[in-house]
Subunit: 145 residues, 2 copies
DNA sequence: TTCCTAATTTAGACTTATTCTAAGCACACC
DNA sequence: GGTGTGCTTAGAATAAGTCTAAATTAGGAA
């Protein structure tokens, strides 16, 4: 089970022609487990609490390599900081205006847009919806007040 | 006509309680005329070709003040650079994968999403669609090859 | 296994976008 | 004319990310 994930990660990295280093494994493993869209800095902080350590340059090299290989996505939301995401399924995003957290929204929660609605007059190859509002956790917190 | 725009800009700035300085006028005027979503740097370069000159710090101060006042929007697309937009009408975005240009897409070109489709299970207050593809200009250019 | 080499990692210098700081201006109000 | 608040400014400071050149290592070949 856990073994499975480990093997999947190894396989994914090798499949795109990258050498599997402990640093790469650690970064991708962390991203696969996280749904928090961490920044390079957060990834670095999380990994470097325990072995194996990766330098800042390696974190960036790794993230760029994984992104170029299509194994992770880099997203920019409301500030000048890159966030990373190993969710390769097509999905939309939800940003909570209270806690600023960024959540993935599976396409099933939205469904496909009727073809005639997608940017009439534009040659659209794909689209992504960014929704804003208050996330479930913050709604609960607000109730409590 | 041109006069109108000038007055509108003056009024907008004063309406939000900001002093109207030549620098602020120049920045907002430039943004209103542009549909290119310029970066702070591009704005600075454009304005400083002629009087009145504005320092880098002022460009940033001004953009932040206008953004905080809701007179311009700051958007982050595929890199760590802020782009600005004085189009206050609700709109979506189109990014050309060839020239990387960012265009506004009026909501009419998409229409409203059926309420039941917008993020089932999320408390969505508003949403924005980012479409990707090839813009009209680049399609033409591609034909020519 | 051992060796080899290209790929990777690293520390630290560098770049770029943006913010901060402290001083000077400018105009509105007395 | 003095005074204060808000604005602009140059330049220093910060933060995210890239680059460089040297040291290390993964993974294939012998």
């Amino acid at each position: 089970m856990t073994r499975d994930i480990r093997l999947q990660i190894e396989e994914r990295v090798r499949a795109v022609g990258l050498k599997l280093t402990p640093q790469r494994f650690a970064v991708l493993d962390f991203l696969v487990r996280s749904c928090e869209h961490p920044t390079a800095d957060q990834i670095s902080a999380a990994l470097n609490r325990r072995f194996p350590r990766a330098s800042r340059a390696t974190i960036y090299n790794t993230l760029n390599a994984l992104r170029d290989a299509g194994l992770v996505h880099e997203v920019y939301m409301d500030d000048a900081v890159a966030r990373f995401d190993a969710n390769l399924d097509e999905h939309h995003h939800f940003v909570c205006r209270v806690c600023d957290r960024l959540e993935d929204v599976p396409v099933e929660a939205v469904g496909e847009l009727p073809a005639h609605q997608i940017g009439r007059g534009y040659k659209v190859e794909n689209y992504q919806i960014v929704m804003r509002g208050v996330c479930a956790a913050c709604q609960k917190r607000q109730m409590a007040d």
